[in-house]
């Protein structure tokens, strides 16, 4: 037996005879790492609660400051001039709805058709990859630049600010949301449903119209509703495409009022009446946006 073997043997004997310190499976509550964890957990709770303060504060102000001014008159009357009392923003509600309507009419068909190409017809072509990337880049596109673009293209050539130009500017902003949401909804349609349709001899168009679009409809509509909600609240592109007007809309080719621009204009005025109206208009605008948001949630919840 060599010396090392002896040493090993005695070490083993030691291990067998001296009881090992029993490992504790419990963490002492005041141990440094437990304390650190507790403190960070507390900070996270504080951060989460703090982050929800602005939303509740905004809602509170809207209800208190805006709600007190809300009446049939504010919803239907025309905006007051500087020193007038009373008045309302009926024309701005109409203008907002009309322009969002125009934007929806343009962006929904175009966006869904493009999504059909991206999701079904040729998902891996170079065009599809490029368009998908550009649509994602466009979702982060500053809304004011859509206004600059439409100003250069439509307002300059038509020589007037118009509801049409405002609608087109909003459509540019809605398009990427619609395309991406519709593509995702259509890509999620189970492959076997499509294969079954192809198997009984459908053309691709028939598969798209009779299987993919109806099945993907909830997802597509959710995207559309979110895009509409976004467009209704968006004001930057309307600043110099639709401008503003103190009268009800008579034609699509003249300056048009919108809620967002009314709030922007009135917020800077030194008159109490206008500021109250700005709060009331904010309440109406938030309600419109919320309606579409909630619709999106309800439609999106129905799973097929």
């Amino acid at each position: 037996m060599s010396a090392t073997d002896l040493a090993v043997e005695s070490a083993i004997r030691d291990l067998e005879t001296t009881p090992a310190p029993k490992p504790s499976l419990h963490r002492a509550p005041l141990e440094l790492r437990a304390l650190k964890s507790g403190v960070l957990t507390g900070l996270t709770w504080i951060a989460a609660l703090l982050a929800s303060v602005p939303l509740f504060s905004v809602i509170y102000e809207l209800v208190v400051a805006g709600g007190s001014r809300l009446s049939w008159e504010t919803l239907t009357a025309l905006p007051p001039s500087a020193f007038d009392l009373g008045g309302g923003f009926g024309n701005a509600i109409v203008g907002t709805l009309v322009m969002v309507g125009i934007a929806t009419l343009i962006s929904l068909p175009l966006g869904i058709l493009a999504a059909v190409y991206l999701a079904i017809l040729d998902p891996d072509s170079r065009l599809a990859h490029t368009v998908r990337f550009l649509a994602k880049v466009l979702t982060g596109f500053p809304s004011i630049l859509a206004g600059v673009f439409v100003y250069a293209v439509m307002v300059v050539t038509m020589k007037t600010y118009s509801a049409l130009a405002g609608g087109v500017a909003l459509a540019v902003l809605m398009l990427p949301t619609v395309v991406l949401a519709a593509e995702q909804a259509m890509a999620m349609v189970p492959k076997k449903m499509k294969d079954a349709a192809y198997g009984i001899g459908c053309t691709r168009t028939q598969v798209i119209w009779k299987v993919v679009l109806p099945t993907g409809a909830p997802g597509i509509l959710t995207g559309a509703m979110l895009a509409i909600a976004g467009a209704a609240g968006n004001s930057a592109p309307l600043l110099f495409t639709a401008l503003f007007s103190d009268y009800y809309l008579r034609s699509l080719t003249e300056p048009t009022a919108s809620l967002a621009i009314l709030i922007f204009n009135f917020s800077g005025m030194p008159y109490e009446n206008q500021i109250q109206l700005a709060w009331a208009a904010s309440l109406v605008l938030v309600l419109i946006v919320l309606v579409f948001n909630i619709l999106a949630r309800i439609i999106g919840r129905q799973k097929y």
Binding site: V116, Y117, T130, L134, G140, L145, V148, A152, V153, A260
Partner: protein, 325 residues
């Protein structure tokens, strides 16, 4: 013709039939329209760049690159420069990113690391998502009449006691950088939070189990395992949030004070590229419009680059997980 292969099939007694010539024509037509729509989006982006770039050309020829480094915006003398606006855009966005980033990531952790029962987490997620639904102008209005009065005593106290620090070098008289950056932070918080939540959710559950199995505390697991694993997704969230902040317009136009100066002070009024466009464009004459088009091109370039970088990082992050699965 594709329909020939069906011609010899015996169809007596069958209710089915091959697609007619009309069906094929319809198919070709519809596919053509879909292709055309996709191509139209590509064309639209190209057209936007060309149109804004083309309209900026005269101003680029006139002012050259000095436009980006000059500090005056004077319609009377025809001198235009956007250095203060570029500074204000980057400064306010960075401040917003700092605040919105910290809170956004904290909320992403809060929502994904079992702080709340699932149902409550869903409710809280809805609250954060609703924050994104509130229009920019409404935040602007809230900022003017709620946030600024709230901020003013704090800011002026800081200025009075710590006026030597460059960040508190001026008092807050009304609109200024601090309220603008705060509102901006609130507005990008949902973007940062929701993309970070997705990044944290993509981590396979066994990774977390393995960490807890080794006896880590909750925060050791979060800081040493979850966050590093989700880091590229979170980085993408921050970059995309930064992109949102750069292009945000209305709330800033209402809160930042539209003053073309460069100052480190958080309470001094400043200006951003988007706010400059919003406040000057509607009343601008032809000379100023050309300069504004140049400013718009600069904003377009900055945001396109930031967003493209963010998307590239995100793609990288997703691909990593797909490879691991």
């Amino acid at each position: 013709m594709a329909s020939h292969q069906f011609d010899n099939v015996d169809r007596s007694g069958s209710v089915s039939g091959p697609p007619s010539e009309g069906d094929y024509a319809l198919d070709r037509g519809f596919r053509g329209i879909a292709w055309f729509s996709a191509a139209l989006i590509l064309a639209l982006v190209v057209y936007i760049v060309i149109e804004i770039g083309g309209k900026a050309m005269p101003a680029i020829a006139e002012h050259g690159l000095g436009f980006l480094t000059s500090t005056s915006w004077n319609v009377q003398t025809g001198q235009f420069g956007i250095l203060p606006q570029i500074w204000g855009t980057l400064y306010s966005s960075l401040l917003a990113l700092l605040l919105g980033g910290v809170f956004g990531i904290a909320i992403a952790i809060f929502l994904t690391q079992d702080f709340l029962p699932n149902r409550l987490a869903a409710v809280f997620r809805t609250i954060i998502e609703l924050l994104a639904a509130i229009p920019s102008v409404v935040f602007g209005l809230w900022g003017i009449y709620v946030l600024i009065p709230l901020l003013r005593p704090v800011a002026n106290w800081l200025h009075a006691n710590f006026g030597g620090v460059p960040f508190f070098g001026t008092s807050l008289s009304g609109p200024g950088l601090a309220p603008a950056a705060l509102v901006l932070a609130i507005m990008i918080l949902p973007t940062v939070a929701s993309i970070s939540v997705d990044a944290l959710r993509q981590i396979p559950y066994k990774v977390k189990e393995a960490a807890y199995g080794m006896g880590t505390t909750r925060w050791e697991a979060i800081l040493k395992v979850m966050l590093p694993t989700a880091s590229s997704g979170i980085l993408a969230a921050l970059v995309l949030g930064f992109g949102r902040a750069l292009g945000e317009t209305m709330a800033l136009a209402m809160l930042i004070g539209n003053s073309n100066q460069i100052s480190l002070s958080l309470f001094a009024p400043a200006n951003t590229l988007a706010a400059l466009l919003a406040s000057s464009f509607p009343e601008a004459g032809p000379v100023e419009i050309r300069a504004l088009m140049y400013a718009a091109l600069a904003l377009l370039a900055i945001t396109l680059i930031v967003n493209a970088v963010g998307l590239a990082v995100m793609k990288f992050a997703t691909r990593k997980f797909e490879a691991e699965r």
